[in-house]
């Protein structure tokens, strides 16, 4: 019974996402075309005849509603269209090449962030108001407030340029050592967020009635945390994780640019700057789908972590 309920829940949520997705596509399409300048505008202007030929080839001479219908019709058949900037490459190809990399790096970074962040958060909560707690909270604050574009170049300068231990860029090495710096750079701010969220909710849980009862029964702190406190303490973290995972998986422009990683983030920014309409729309659709799916997963996980939600 319960499983069928969960299935129905998931299906309803997925179906209700369709209008949202459609609205996002329409809005993104309109905003892209409303931005001044087109994909073929350079400082060097083309003669009108050449410009007309290019517009015709890319159907940019058609009225906007017709362009949208053409795009949407192809989209329904799973075709994201050709890139305007990279002739000969389809948007699907560009996205899937970049996506694999962003997914790998994002997943590793998120994993790092969860493991380290939760451990740090729990430790800080258990040692509340001690020097350890202050040190860890201070570090977490730094992780949140120092931007990646400051940390990442320092990493490169120290570990790649000065010490020569690691490659300075993605293509600087074929080995997996090239994962190290970008993953850490991506994970750092997430570690900080995860640690702060965990610490906060952990402190709250540890002072709740059922923990006191557990203590009264003679259970050790470690057992209490592992068996009773950690799970409810994860709830606030979980709602943060949905969008955060989607964001990390779709890549970070800054990290990608500094380490020369051809991921989704820089593809998206470059697409927007180049007015590569189809590419930007493709990534928006991909990103929106990811956010919707992860929010759904989070909602389902909620049920597993908190029986009160599941039984409601």
């Amino acid at each position: 019974m319960q499983q069928r309920g969960a299935l129905r829940f998931a299906l309803t949520r997925l179906l209700s996402a369709i209008p949202t997705l459609f609205l996002i596509i329409v809005l993104a399409f309109m905003m892209m075309h409303a931005a001044p300048g087109g994909p073929f505008d350079e400082e060097r202007a083309m003669p009108p005849e050449t410009a007309a030929n290019i517009e015709r080839a890319y159907h940019l001479d058609e009225p906007l509603p017709q362009q949208f219908m053409r795009y949407f019709g192809a989209l329904l058949q799973g075709d994201l269209g050709p890139s305007y900037r990279y002739p000969g490459y389809s948007v699907a190809e560009l996205i899937s090449a970049a996506m694999l990399l962003s997914l790998q790096l994002g997943a590793l970074a998120m994993l790092c962030a969860l493991i380290v962040g939760i451990a740090v958060g729990v430790l800080a909560a258990l040692r509340r108001n001690t020097p350890i707690d202050r040190l860890l909270t201070g570090l977490a604050m730094m992780g949140i407030s120092i931007p990646i574009f400051v940390i990442a170049p320092i990493f490169v300068l120290v570990f790649a340029v000065n010490l020569g231990w690691l490659p300075a860029s993605w293509s600087g090495s074929d080995s997996g050592s090239r994962y190290l710096l970008p993953v850490i750079a991506l994970a750092l701010p997430q570690i900080a967020y995860v640690a702060r969220l965990t610490r906060g909710s952990m402190i709250e849980i540890m002072s709740s009635d059922f923990v006191r009862t557990a203590r009264a029964q003679g259970l050790g702190t470690f057992t209490i945390v592992r068996l009773h406190a950690l799970r409810p303490a994860m709830l606030p973290l979980l709602s943060y994780l949905g969008p955060a995972v989607a964001a990390v998986l779709t890549g970070s422009v800054v990290v990608e640019q500094i380490f020369g990683i051809p991921g989704l983030g820089q593809l998206f920014v470059r697409g927007a700057l180049n007015r590569d309409y189809t590419l930007v729309l493709g990534i928006v659709i991909f990103y929106a789908t990811l956010v919707i799916v992860f929010n759904l997963i989070v909602d389902i996980l909620y049920g597993f972590l908190d029986p009160r939600i599941r039984n409601r």
Binding site: S177, Y179, G260
Partner: protein
């Protein structure tokens, strides 16, 4: 942490998990989550450990060049950016090409001749010219490629390159079939091109990517995919081996190239480096042999640390502020435009603001253009004090004063350098003329769209580079009907001088017309040139054959490694 044994990710699953005595089925999900987390943690560590210590392949013979932002295509007729053109130059031979010092020389053609009336060009192709698939390069290949360039269906950005070839304009406009293009294969290896009007710079166009030959058989068979790695057939020193999107383009030696024996380096890698500061890191970490630029903020440090590796050279490009003459306060008052231009201390700009070896500009056509002596702004030789005094007088004569200051907007595209320059110019105007210009930064394509529309722009920042080494490449954009004329500049005198220069066969008289046209232009002040760009590269000391040139073209086939170092 490196050097651990390589293990499969799956190994981690079998890792022993510490005993958990809780048997309440309701806790199963959490236990599983915990197990998964633990497993994942181990897997993560393994991946990171396994990642280290793999041997990198031996790339001692590969040349690692930085390219800047990613090239958009390696289809010669569709390529639009300098990045694409740079890679294409290594892979294709045009009819003509450039020597290391930037002199136009024979490429796929071994000799050529032009008729006395300047209207027909004949090219004799090299009998040993070969495509990378081994086929001979013949005159028909060029006929096919030139037709492809002007074909409206190709939708080529640079279709206008051949605009002076007979019937090209009509073909681009869709009024004539492509077969009518004035290009014919008179013999298997002989090509004749008929022009509509004499075009002094025409040979230089035949060394540009847009006019490179493409292989008809492969395009017919593969369509759009012909320009991909594994498919692309080229006729130059290198062929396309691999293209990892966003990362690197790898070229390998074309064994069939007519001058294969003269090519020293086997493999060339063009690394995508959109961020100049990251590019510099990579150079300093030893990952790059040649950089595409040197970031402004690091320039003085690099000059101090690596003076022998820094190559700074004049480059055919002018940085300027344009005036939109459709905006009445500017259009109606040549005196105001001159005052604005004279109040700017260009020496201070290049020494204190840009500081990378740029030269102050007092002409529109930059120095280094062949067969041309650029005209100078009338106040080029004045002292700074005289210039400022004259600027003040002209500003007052134009009807402005401290009590009635000029209100004007200066637009530039978002960039730190442009912003610093704009701030400096704003303060020079404030000091000398006493008005406060409004600075507006816009994203590049927004600015371009506004410049094109000529409706809201007043003063705008832009730059212009010559596609070929000829003054006409610069002067032509000020013709009344030029699509790149974003100044609203219309001068019958200027148009007629350029028209006369365009059809002039005698090089000396042509030069006189062009120089006179520039004099007219500068006197009218539709723009204020600020400085001439320089090209900036870091080149490893063991690279031989690098020569600075005004085009900033550096073919890999001319380079080699000095093994003695």
């Amino acid at each position: 942490m490196c050097g651990g044994p390589r293990r499969q990710r799956g190994d981690a699953v079998s890792c022993p998990v510490s005993g958990n005595t809780v048997s309440d089925p309701g806790r199963m999900s959490f236990r599983n989550t915990a197990n998964i987390m633990r497993t994942a943690a181990v897997a993560l560590l393994l991946v990171l450990v396994a990642a280290c210590g793999q041997p990198t392949e031996d790339d001692s013979r590969a040349l690692n060049r930085a390219i800047g932002p990613e090239p958009e295509t390696l289809d010669p007729q569709l390529a639009r950016t300098t990045q694409s053109h740079t890679v294409l130059r290594d892979m294709f031979d045009g009819l003509l090409t450039y020597s290391p010092d930037g002199t136009l020389i024979e490429g796929a053609a071994q000799r050529w001749a032009v008729s006395d009336d300047g209207l027909s060009y004949s090219f004799w192709l090299r009998p040993d010219g070969r495509w990378s698939n081994g086929e001979a390069v013949v005159a028909e290949d060029f006929v096919y490629s030139f037709r492809r360039l002007v074909d409206p269906k190709t939708a080529a950005f640079y279709a206008e390159t051949l605009i002076n070839v007979r019937n090209a304009a009509d073909i681009i406009a869709g009024d004539k079939p492509i077969e009518t293009l004035g290009v014919e294969a008179t013999e298997r290896l002989q090509l004749t091109i008929h022009l509509q009007q004499p075009t002094a710079y025409f040979p230089a166009l035949l060394a540009q990517a847009a006019t490179y030959p493409v292989n008809e058989t492969s395009i017919t068979a593969l369509g759009e995919a012909f320009a991909r790695p594994g498919n692309l057939v080229s006729n130059g020193a290198y062929k396309l081996d691999r293209w990892d999107l966003g990362l690197v383009i790898e070229l390998g030696r074309n064994e069939h190239y007519w001058n294969n024996a003269g090519t020293a380096i086997d493999d060339v890698r063009y690394h995508v480096t959109p961020v100049p500061s990251a590019e510099l890191f990579r150079y300093r970490a030893g990952e790059l042999d040649i950089t595409s630029t040197v970031p402004t903020e690091a320039f003085s440090q690099v000059r101090a640390e690596r003076p022998e590796e820094l190559r700074v050279s004049t480059f055919l490009s002018t940085y300027y502020y344009g005036f939109n003459l459709n905006y009445e306060p500017l259009g109606d008052s040549p005196k105001l435009r001159q005052a604005l231009s004279m109040a700017v201390d260009r020496e201070a700009l290049t020494e204190k603001v840009t500081g990378r070896g740029e030269q102050p500009a007092y002409s529109w056509v930059p120095p280094g253009v062949d067969h041309y002596e650029a005209r100078q702004l009338s106040y080029a030789d004045m002292s700074a004090a005289d210039r400022q005094a004259t600027a003040k007088r002209l500003y007052a004569e134009a009807g402005y004063s401290e009590s009635k200051p000029l209100h004007i907007e200066l637009r530039y595209n978002t960039s730190e350098t442009h912003q610093r320059i704009a701030l400096a110019v704003q303060s020079m105007w404030r000091d000398v003329l006493g008005f406060e210009a409004t600075l507006i930064n816009e994203e590049f394509r927004v600015l371009v769209a506004n410049m094109r529309a000529m409706e809201i722009t007043q003063i705008f920042r832009s730059s212009w580079s010559g596609d070929y080494n000829d003054a006409y490449a610069f002067l032509s954009i000020f013709e009344s009907d030029s699509p790149s004329n974003m100044f609203g500049y219309r001068s019958e005198e200027y148009d007629s001088l350029l028209q006369r220069a365009a059809t002039q066969i005698d090089p000396e008289r042509r030069q006189l017309y062009l120089e006179e046209a520039e004099r007219v232009l500068l006197a009218d002040h539709p723009l204020m040139p600020l400085y001439y760009y320089v090209s900036k590269h870091l080149v490893r000391p063991d690279i031989r054959g690098w020569q600075d040139n005004v085009l900033d073209y550096h073919y890999s086939q001319h380079l080699s490694f000095d093994r003695t170092r």
